[in-house]
């Protein structure tokens, strides 16, 4: 799957680099000084790179843990996010990463310990907080590339020891062996993102079918893992009511409401400039021909559509879950 691996010379003999390389004995190895030389140059085409993304192994030098954008959260007072990886093996047409980065190559920061030290510092600096949430799937899918990153394998034991730190793994992957084989830890939420199946087929390229994701959530919930549902972004279309009702019913038909930690809904929003980049990459995409408008520097559906969709989904969700498990993600910055 991965044919080219770029490696920063500095981490050529890092144990995690060596372990990954031992699993890709046939890959083309190209050394670089800094990952930015490969990842950041202007003249790159995200759409073309999606045909054959390379892996870039790098060391992150700072800003390990960042404040979560305003409006991003699942109830906690303090929310942070961290990105051990940039980009994703899936190809969702609404994904903001395609407008955020010029390159579709996957960057993996191998110095996991630095992220963990920083989480540790934040927890120690906030002795009065009961819980602090750390979102891991902001710039990537938390689980999809587990066979390469071993991220879950390495971070679960860490969070097991830091009970005040809540880890959200946000994913569309059904690749959950690592979780199923691990003792359940209560301060971890495995959150699955969904759009209705017919929309998923059109927009979420390479993503496992909705049914399989629901079944995977079920097995995790049965094992005792806390699971979350993310209806974010909500995609507007003519039959959205019928399709979202069906999706929500299917989820709650399969998974018991008690095992659900939280559900969040969020509208589709992009910073204007980012939207133009994405629209230029995919001018043939019907999603972008929808009733979108520019408001306060963001491209989104009209306020009326956003509210109508959120209210519609929340009304159905309230039939299944108490209100304190429902959250709205009204992100206004990225």
């Amino acid at each position: 799957m991965i044919e080219t691996i770029y490696i920063e010379s500095e981490i050529r003999s890092h144990p995690r680099t060596e372990s990954i390389l031992s699993r890709f004995s046939k890959a083309r190895i190209v050394e670089c000084e800094r990952y930015g030389e490969v990842f950041n140059p202007k003249k790159q085409n995200f759409r073309l790179q999606k045909k054959k993304p390379a892996l870039i192994l790098a060391r992150k030098h700072g800003n390990f843990i960042l404040d979560a954008p305003k409006g991003f959260g699942i109830g906690g007072r303090k929310n942070y996010y961290f990105s051990h990886m940039l980009n994703c093996i899936y190809d969702c047409r609404y994904c903001f990463l395609q407008g955020m980065y010029r390159s579709a190559n996957y960057v993996l920061f191998v110095n996991y310990e630095d992220f963990q030290n920083e989480i540790n510092n934040i927890v120690e600096q906030n002795p009065d907080e009961k819980e602090i949430t750390f979102f891991s799937g902001y710039d990537c899918d938390s689980l999809a590339l587990e066979s390469v990153t071993r991220f879950v394998r390495e971070f679960l034991p860490f969070f097991q020891k830091h009970k005040k730190a809540v880890l959200e793994l946000r994913t569309k992957s059904i690749n959950v062996d690592e979780l199923l084989n691990h003792e359940v830890i209560p301060n971890c939420v495995v959150a699955y993102s969904f759009t209705p199946e017919n929309i998923s087929q059109k927009l979420e390229h390479g993503v496992p079918p909705v049914k399989k994701r629901i079944q995977t959530m079920k097995s995790l919930a049965e094992k005792g893992w806390r699971v979350g549902i993310r209806l974010d972004p909500l995609i507007y279309h003519e039959s959205y009511k019928k399709n979202y009702r069906k999706l929500i019913q299917e989820i709650f038909y399969t998974i018991s409401a008690e095992s659900i930690h939280s559900v969040s809904t969020g509208p589709m929003r992009f910073p204007e400039k980012m939207f133009h980049t994405i629209e230029r990459l995919y001018p043939d995409e019907r999603l972008f021909a929808g009733p979108l408008e520019n408001r306060n520097g963001l491209t989104s559906y009209s306020e009326e559509i956003e509210t109508e969709m959120m209210n519609f989904c929340n009304t159905i969700l309230e039939n299944h879950l108490p209100k304190n498990k429902l959250f709205s993600c009204l992100q206004s910055s990225f």
Binding site: E3, T4, Y6, R28, V30, E31, C32, E33, E37, V38, P41, K43, Q44, N45, R47, L48, Q49, K51, K52, A54, S103, N105, P196, N198, I199, K202, L203, I235, Y236, H237, E238, S239, N243, E279, L281, P283, D284, E285, R286, L287, F288, A289, G290, P291
Partner: protein
């Protein structure tokens, strides 16, 4: 649509097999010798030796390619040396480093390469010491830095054919016939690479092409630059939401001016249902 490929080659003897295979004809020889095929979808320029000559020739070829060069693929073909790769081996550059400035470029391999890949080092003077694993040559960095002003890294590539290695140093100097023969032996890889680049270039042409009815609208009404961008975007949406319908007949026959065209289209499209789940 047909993908476009621009070749930049240092020497006539390196270019000869390519010119002959792709049926290229000389079009210009004022500053540089420039060749192209009948529909100008393949062009070739002879740059002369060295990184700076290659840079200038690449710029010159872009300036004489009258059409939009942002979707054109660029290919530098030449000979190079390596410590132990067998003679006549073709490699595609996975990294290019300029020995003087130390700047690096990383061509993005979004297709299966038709040959081996290797790192390439561009030097100022012929260098027959091969201290590392790089293929050593004299043009790639100049070519790449110039081509990057026009296209993107996925469709700018350098192919080098090994003409020297540490075992060949005692051999008599290379002749033009030997160079011609080296390129000729790798023509099938060159052809395959060109085919792959043409496909990518074509995809990019399609992505960036004007939507239907744009030219008709521009000839009927006067649009400012900003309005032209808006019009393009609206006509693209029209194509997606009203496929097969002639916007000029269906929606715009009574429009008086460009503002009116944009408002009419915008309003109509905002009220058009989006059947995401239907084709």
């Amino acid at each position: 649509m047909i993908g476009k490929v621009n070749f930049v080659v240092a020497l006539s003897c390196e270019a000869k097999p390519i010119i002959s295979h792709f049926n290229l004809r000389k079009r210009d020889s004022t500053l540089f010798k420039v060749y192209s095929n009948q529909d100008h979808s393949i062009r070739l320029i002879i740059s002369g030796i060295g990184s700076s000559a290659s840079l200038k020739a690449t710029k010159h070829l872009a300036s004489v390619s009258k059409d939009d060069t942002s979707t054109t693929a660029w290919l530098n073909i030449g000979i190079g040396g390596h410590k132990d790769l067998p003679l006549a081996t073709a490699i595609l550059a996975q990294r290019i480093v300029d020995s003087k400035t130390k700047q690096s470029w990383f061509p993005q391999l979004v297709f299966d390469p038709p040959c081996l890949t290797a790192s390439v080092k561009t030097v100022e003077k012929p260098d027959f010491n091969y201290p590392d694993d790089n293929v050593v040559e004299m043009e790639a960095s100049g070519f790449y830095s110039a081509a990057e002003s026009y296209s993107t890294r996925e469709i700018i590539h350098c192919m080098k054919i090994i003409s020297d290695n540490s075992q060949s140093l005692s051999r008599p100097p290379l002749t033009e016939t030997m160079v011609d023969e080296l390129v000729n032996r790798n023509l099938s890889s060159i052809k395959e690479l060109v085919r792959k680049l043409q496909v990518l270039s074509m995809e990019e042409e399609e992505r960036t092409s004007d939507p239907p009815f744009l030219q008709e609208c521009l000839s009927l009404w006067h649009f400012t630059v900003t309005q032209t961008h808006q019009l393009k975007s609206l006509l693209r949406k029209w194509l997606l939401l009203q496929p097969g319908k002639n916007v000029l007949d269906v929606l715009l026959p009574n429009c008086k001016d460009s503002r009116n065209v944009i408002q009419t289209l915008d309003l109509h499209l905002k009220n058009t249902p989006v059947w995401m789940d239907h084709d």
